[in-house]
């Protein structure tokens, strides 16, 4: 069986600054994979390259969804990438603040349907049926992430932990095959962090959605991830299971060099 | 089709004849665009927004110089040292009025929004409102017909290059602008104020953590940009006279110049201004004069569509 993601020799530069250099990696279907590395190592650049926000100058990124054709991501727009089954969250939660929790998720649920201007204006039976399906889907996802009782709250009024859940629900609403989580635990308290880990695992186990995760919090990563890549200065310096990574000399060196930064970040 | 080629070739003959005259004329107007473009670019650098009301700073500068000369000079055109005096007086009047109005503008129309963290569209609307207010109050107070400037000297060709006469006016703009560009470059790259501006332009949050006074830095940015814009308004008015709506077209072109050079980039603004001035001036030979403003605008759209970061790229601070 093919891998879900196949990243080969990807390099990304901004002007003279190299953000990713020759990054190669893969993700197996159904895997919880993590990418770690010190600040500025290129983790978010990698995410943005995987989702079509950035366009790397070299290399290939292939995505193999189960029942859709293979997608070569470089050169595609983010919404096309989303269509093919990749959902993501953002480092600083980015929600639609003027909308309610429910509407935020519903947007994800209905974004892959056509534009439907006339349907919206005339409210035919097809439109109403569509709305009904999206509503049901939205409710089930809100229940899944535990935000059902917060459905009619304005998104900006949610707590950090709730926002993370909302983002996950919104991503899941697009029926993805993989969910990319950009530092989901940032800004959450220990108990929220714990709940989040449980939720992430539940997403994979119950929904069959693979997880690709960037995280600073080592405890969370090591307990969640089945395999890790370590990035430093835009290159992959190590790959392996949590145990292998823990004892890898390269990784220890890279992290010791920035240990002080890490602490301030996690504080 | 043949008619078109005939039109083109006959124009080309005369075009060769007047090429250099148009070229130097283009440099003259280009430098003025550059001065205004710097105002756009500096404000963009620190606030990440287009100061829509900059065209009115230009207009205010033009009118201030106009009034100083109108009430300062009697009925006869001065000569010699007194010409120099009045030119400097006009420049200072334009510059100071431009600075003051830019600072007031920032205080009234932008700062309250900045304190609130308003969305970007709110800034744009507020700026358009301020611009519209100023334009129309000028129309009400100063009349709706153009007036020509009382000249502080008698314009004449000083020398010729490639057969093209170089007017005193062109020489004055060149000297003034080069002096101002050099001064600005020094201020931005070598003084504490300039360091503040560059720090805010790169990352205003970090800059404020490092003790840079954001409010003051932004005010200074408007002050400097307003000075150049005001002086440009005066220099423009020396040639074209004053009118309440005089700022609209030059400012649109200056904005084009700023984008062309790379918004946020000071040297880019100068380069963009010169390129735009020359291209526009040369296109006089080929384009129906009624559509001449469309040329600059077409350039703007092409640049925005195909190279929105401009020739030198977007930045302010790193290499000024």
């Amino acid at each position: 069986m093919e891998n879900l993601f196949e990243v080969k020799d990807v390099s990304l530069r901004f002007g003279g600054v190299v953000s990713l250099s020759n990054v190669s990696m893969f993700q197996k279907r159904g895997e919880i994979l993590a990418v770690i590395g010190p600040n500025g190592a290129g983790k978010t650049s990698l995410f943005n390259s995987l989702t079509g926000v950035y366009q790397p100058q070299e290399g290939t990124i292939l995505f193999n969804p189960k029942d859709k054709p293979q997608l070569s991501i470089i050169g595609k727009k983010p919404f096309t990438v989303s269509d093919s089954g990749i959902a993501r969250t953002f480092q600083a939660s980015r929600m639609f603040n003027a909308l309610t929790t429910f509407e935020n998720v519903k947007i994800g649920a209905e974004s892959h349907k056509g534009i439907g201007v006339l349907g919206a204006m005339f409210r035919g039976p097809a439109t109403r049926r569509d709305e009904h399906t999206s509503d049901e889907h939205t409710w089930s996802l809100l229940e899944f992430v535990g935000l059902k009782d917060r459905a009619n709250v304005i998104a900006s009024a949610l707590s950090y932990g709730e926002r993370r859940r909302l983002e996950i629900a919104r991503g899941l609403a697009t029926n993805p095959e993989v969910l990319l989580l950009d530092e989901p635990a940032a800004g959450t308290n220990p108990s929220e962090k714990n709940d989040l880990a449980i939720l992430i695992r539940k997403v994979r186990d119950e929904m069959g959605v693979s997880i690709l995760l960037i995280e600073h919090d080592m405890k969370l990563v090591m307990s969640l991830a089945e395999r890790l890549y370590v990035l430093n200065f835009g290159s992959v310096i190590a790959e392996g299971t949590p145990e292998q990574i823990r004892s890898n000399q390269n990784v220890i060196d890279a992290y010791l060099g920035t240990a002080s930064e890490e602490e301030t970040d996690n504080a | 089709m043949s008619g078109f080629f005939h039109y083109f070739s006959s124009h080309f003959e005369s075009f060769r004849g007047e090429f250099w005259a148009l070229f130097f004329g283009g440099i003259g107007s280009g430098i003025i665009y550059a001065m205004v473009a710097i105002g756009y670019t500096m404000v963009y650098g620190v606030l990440r927004l287009i100061n829509f009301a900059h065209s009115e700073i230009f207009m205010i500068g033009g009118f201030s110089g106009f009034f100083v000369l109108k009430y300062g000079i009697g009925s006869s055109t001065p000569s010699g040292l007194s010409s120099v005096f009045f030119v400097i007086l006009g420049i200072l009047a334009g510059g100071i009025a431009g600075s003051l109005s830019a600072v007031v503008l920032e205080r009234v129309a932008y700062r309250p929004l900045r304190k609130r963290g308003a969305p970007k569209i709110a800034y744009l609307i507020s700026a358009i409102g301020a611009s519209y207010f100023l334009i129309n109050i000028a129309a009400k107070e100063f009349g709706r017909i153009g007036q020509s400037m009382v000249q502080p000297y008698t314009d004449h060709a000083v020398f010729t290059i490639f057969g093209a006469p170089i007017q005193m006016y062109t020489i004055i703009i060149l000297i003034v602008s080069v002096l101002m560009f050099l001064a600005l470059d020094r201020i931005v790259s070598a003084t504490k104020l300039g360091r503040g501006i560059r720090a805010v332009a790169q990352d205003s949050e970090t800059a404020s953590l490092m003790g840079v006074n954001i409010d003051k830095t932004i005010a200074v940015t408007f002050l400097l940009g307003g000075f150049l814009g005001g002086v440009a308004g005066f220099l423009y008015a020396m040639n074209f006279g004053v009118l309440y709506s005089m700022g609209f077209t030059p400012a649109l072109k200056a904005f084009t110049a700023a984008v062309l050079g790379g918004i946020g980039n000071l040297r880019g603004a100068v380069l963009g201004g010169l390129i735009l001035g020359i291209v526009e001036s040369l296109s006089v030979s080929f384009v129906n004069p009624a559509y001449i403003d469309v040329v600059a605008f077409a350039i703007l759209i092409l640049v925005l569509m195909f190279r929105p970061t401009g020739i030198l790229g977007e930045r302010l601070g790193r290499d000024a």
Binding site: S82, F90, L99, E110, G116, G171 | A109, L124, L304
Partner: protein, 432 residues
Amino acid sequence: MKTLLTKKTLKFVGALFILSELAAIMTGPPGNPTHQFDGFKGSLTDPTSLLGLFTTSRWIVFFVYGILASLIVYLVRTKQNVVGKVLEAQRSVSANKTFRIIFFSALVILVVLLPTLIKDAFWQNAMVSQIAVFVLLALGLNVVTGFAGLLDLGFVAFYAVGAYATAWCTGALPLPALFGIHLNTFYAIPIAIALAMISGIILGIPTLRLRGDYLAIVTLGFGEIITVFANNLNGVTGGAMGTGQVPHFAIHVGPVNYVWGIPPVPYYYLTIVFVGIFMIAFSLLEHSRVGRAWTAIREDEVAAESVGINPLKYKVLAFAIGAASAGFAGVMTAAQSNYVTPATFTLGLSINVLVLVIFGGMGSITGVVFGAVVIQTITMYLIHNPPAGYQPQDLYIYIGALLVIMMIFRPAGMIPSRRRSRTHASAASGQE
């Protein structure tokens, strides 16, 4: 006494002084082109009366007005937040469904009966050409600016397309008529709307890729270019003179022969029917998938793209739909006045429409209709009964000032959209 002389109070008094003197200049006599300072001088020194109590220089009177106004604001703010309570009450009342039904039916009846209540010829004409048509324009711009968050300063271009398309269909232009025959003006409606929508798409596809501030400038330039072309393409548009031969609407079906003519009342009914249609259609759209996608793009384009929304597609759609009602407004203007000239389609008009939307409340359909009716009525009143020294062009000064004031004090407008006010509230609490 000491507490009164703090830096803060001094600053406040200074600002109050400058603002009140600005207001004095705004409302004062105009300048004289040869003695330009006469206007300023007169604005500050002319004698005027303070609430009829005594007469003194304007600069003192306006400063006193400023002090009075700020005292009122101060009292209202400190005394248990009266404004907040009034707004709260309004909100809870308007949330009541029965009340809403009664209120809106009363409003509809009033709108229908209006021409019988107002007999004055000036106002009957203004109701169509200056109020109803501007409601249409504001509704259209609201889709673009309110729903999708795109600042279009050349919105007047679509209005122009609608008007010129009408003239074209009916054979009023130098350009040979569309389809070679002079169509009845009614047929111009779908054609003009379609052409306006197409021009929205054509204009939108290249420009809507741009960032918001660039979009504003580019649309501003397009609006100006349209005027340049309309003025200069004599063989197509009739040049600066335009055309004065657009026919009135007419129905000739079987025994029915009805021609709309000089009396504005039939036009009034025709226009408000369309206003109603556009209001309902846009409101359905706002609460549909399309409206939610627009809000998503407006709030956070990157996030919207990440859930699969194609921003360009939806922005172009907003342009096209907004252009539809502007195009229809163009038909009404052309048919009712019989004239289409470039002088109508100025940058000033675009900004005028923007003010209606901002004042009423971006994104709020009720709000923009309210804004358009109120502001246009005041404008018309000032033209019909000008106060001493008022010139029609002075209006633009007030419009400019109003835009700034709204952005500072009430960015969501007088009747905020529920979604929009949330945006501003969340921005205020620093959570973007």
